[in-house]
Amino acid sequence: MAPVRFDLSDDQEFFRETARRFIEAEVPISVVREWHELPDGCPESWWQAAAELGWTSLMVPESLGGGSISGRPIVDLTIVADEMGRGVTPGPFMPTNVVADTLGRSGSPDQQALLEGVLAGEVVLAWAFCEPGGDWTASHITAAAVPSNGGYALTGTKVAVEAGPQAHHLLVTARTAEGLAQFLVPSDAPGVTIAPQESLDLGRRFAEVRLVGVAVGPEALVGAPGAATEADVARQCLLMQLLQCADNAGSSAKVLEFTIEYAFDRYSFGRPLASYQALKHRFADMKLWSEASQAAVDGAADAFADGQDEARMVSVAKSYVGDRSVELMQDCVQMHGGIGVTYEHDLHLYLRRATVNRGLFGTPGDHRVTLSKMMGY
């Protein structure tokens, strides 16, 4: 009994089923391992097939050729994230959707024209946001956009830019005299250096992006500098965090499922592991964490879709799911014993990814501070 939302419409349920079958057929774990060797983490053709299923269209307005399943695109998006987590499925899903959402909301018509390629899975987008030692809030941004002959010159260093190595365009967050601003920059623009980084997560790709006096025209601006951009950036952060949580809820549910199976099949001292009360009680706790994580993700997605208290509910999800998901996986490693810490076993693939999701865009501890401040303390 996989913990998915209990209120899915038939369309959503069909969408979810399709995503799961697509992943099981196209990207079983054996394939996930093969794709570890690919520079981009997945074949373009596959990403295009995924796009055909609507994985990149949910956050794009219908007027621009996109559209959601349920009219609550954020909820639909978490459905895919949950399934991708279950499959440790690679692909530039998170950053592409997050940047597409902003282009759809704040982009110029020229910039929105790019979305056609996104919908076709031919254009990959990345968000160049966090800087070395940064805390994943807009306040730490020092990258500068200096006015120069009618446009801007961008200078700064960005790290942990997901999908950086394969992105066609980068959304760069930087400071201007008018306040925070974002620019859409082609990855091959002169002055842009994209250095792939190593990651605990062997499936997704990250890069360090160095910008040295990158010259862009005024039309590269996405939305208005200042308050409007602050709002866009805040929304981008929340969206990334929500997707990380959905991903971890899905992956930890999956890990728990196959670990429970293992406990039934594995005999020790003539009894299945599942018959040992000390382990049964830990499995009960893990089941609790898994169900509660799903509840936290769904609650945050609903808050986001309803525009009600989403900042709080996303931080709640990150604070809870972030910790419980990796602790659940670690205890599942323990349940497996030696085999659980071998490269051959799949468990570490999930744990690697969940650990990265837990940490980027703020650790659970960071989000507890955020929540405390929301309570005026």
Binding site: K280, L288, E291, Q294, Y320, M375, Y377
Partner: protein
């Protein structure tokens, strides 16, 4: 059938209902005194108790036990309606004493197993606030093993003669009737020799001794039965089939403890740090050098309380929709026990020394007292250990614990020294 009955309700209807309830409560229910609130358990007069009076008010307004069928004094409404009443009622004094066990535990049991006469006789009396019930289930020797009851009920014509002792009944001395589980056959395995009875509490053969808790309050009682004669008409369900009734009772108890019952009215409030806001307030006062630590705690408490709400909604929906088996109520019960003990620990930590040593009359000591009693949240209404057994065995389907008493005639089962 192992789950509640729910009906679809459209949002508009619910919004209308909320307004209706708000207006009515404002006009008819006493506002909660924020400074020195009335605690439903404080009032200890049996007959003219404030709980009974408030329950009557709800009944007169048509907002009492609304999930109960109309024919027994309810409104045949949905859990969604009751939740609205609960939300609105947070600012008012409510007859909490009727929620557990009367309406949320004994109620559904009588609805399901009671004879039509029993239903007619008892249910409306609760809803009108006239009669309070308790459970006589646990026994001093029993712990979590409810089916190991040693209290005996020996048939004598059309009566049963009860002898033995029960424990952990809530405010028995203030109540009128009890659901009692007693052994009517000792020659068969434990689950097959039990019977459930309706027992009038204020009976010459019944002695009630209040139990003093660590903080000296006396919420619970122990009862002693000496040749208490009960008419056979008071049997609930079938003779020797009491375990069927009891396991449903325990199911409803888990639902009630896990905030997953549609039959409770209002929400229980704590003496000290109930909401996270209360904690935040404490942090404001005593924060100082520990701000970093307090922030972590506060943020974590906020996390737990929000997730607890979301989980309990999810479980109710899941059971309602058949996505989760009924025992899933144990998930909420487990989460609640763990988050509550955590909160009481944090509250004590935030209060600092004042929770340990305080000037006479200061209230800060209550935080220390609640901390040393924190495990109550993991014991009362079924221990967290039982919850973990239920989750692993009935939700995950793992093998049951070997029980030495499974198929043994009860009089041959090994017992506590």
């Amino acid at each position: 059938m192992d789950d509640f009955v729910y009906a679809e309700t459209d949002p508009a209807e619910l919004d209308r209902y909320r307004e209706e309830v708000e207006t009515w409560m404002n006009e008819n229910m006493p506002r909660r005194d924020p400074v020195n609130p009335w605690h439903p358990t404080q009032d200890d007069d049996l007959r003219s108790s404030r709980n009974r009076e408030l329950q009557r008010r709800l009944y007169d307004g048509g907002y009492a036990a609304v999930c109960y069928p109309k024919e027994y004094g309810g409104q045949s409404l949905t859990a969604a309606h009751q939740k609205i009443i609960d939300d609105v009622s947070m600012d008012f004094d409510m007859p909490i004493l009727f929620s557990v066990p009367t309406l949320s535990i004994c109620g559904p049991v009588i609805l399901e197993f009671g004879t039509e006469e029993q239903r007619q006789r008892y249910i409306p009396a609760w809803i009108r606030g006239e009669e309070l019930w308790v459970q006589f289930i646990s026994e001093p020797s029993g712990g979590s093993d409810m089916a190991g009851a040693l209290t005996r009920a020996d048939r004598d014509g059309d009566e049963f003669i009860i002898n033995g002792s029960k424990i952990w009944s809530t405010f028995a001395q203030r109540s009128d009737y009890a659901l009692m589980l007693a052994r009517t056959n000792w020659e068969v395995p434990k689950h097959r020799g039990l019977t459930m009875f309706i027992v009038p509490i204020h009976h010459p053969g019944i002695e009630i001794h209040p139990i003093q808790m660590v903080d000296r309050t006396e919420e619970f009682c122990q009862e002693f039965f000496n040749d208490v004669a009960i008419p056979a008409a008071n049997v609930v369900g079938k003779v020797n089939d009491g375990w069927t009734v009891a396991s449903r009772l325990l199911f409803h108890e888990r639902a009630a403890v896990g905030n997953a019952s549609p039959y409770t009215q209002g929400r229980h409030r704590n003496r000290t740090a109930d909401g996270v806001e209360d904690l935040a307030a404490i942090a404001q006062v005593h924060g100082g050098a520990d701000m970093g630590r307090h922030r972590q705690r506060l943020g974590y408490m906020e996390t737990l309380s929000r997730v607890e709400e979301l989980l309990s909604d999810r479980v109710v929906k899941g059971i309602e929709g058949g996505f989760l088996p009924a025992p899933a109520g144990s998930l909420v019960r487990l989460f609640h026990g763990l988050s509550r003990t955590e909160r009481q620990t944090v509250a004590m930590e935030m209060q600092g020394d004042r929770a340990l040593v305080w000037n006479q009359g200061e209230s800060s000591g209550a935080f220390g007292l609640e901390y040393i009693q924190r495990q109550q949240a993991c014991i009362g209404g079924g221990t967290t250990e039982m919850a973990r057994n239920i989750i692993s065995e009935r939700i995950l389907g793992m093998p049951r614990e070997p029980a030495a008493d499974r198929d043994l005639p009860f009089n041959q089962v090994p017992r506590s020294g």
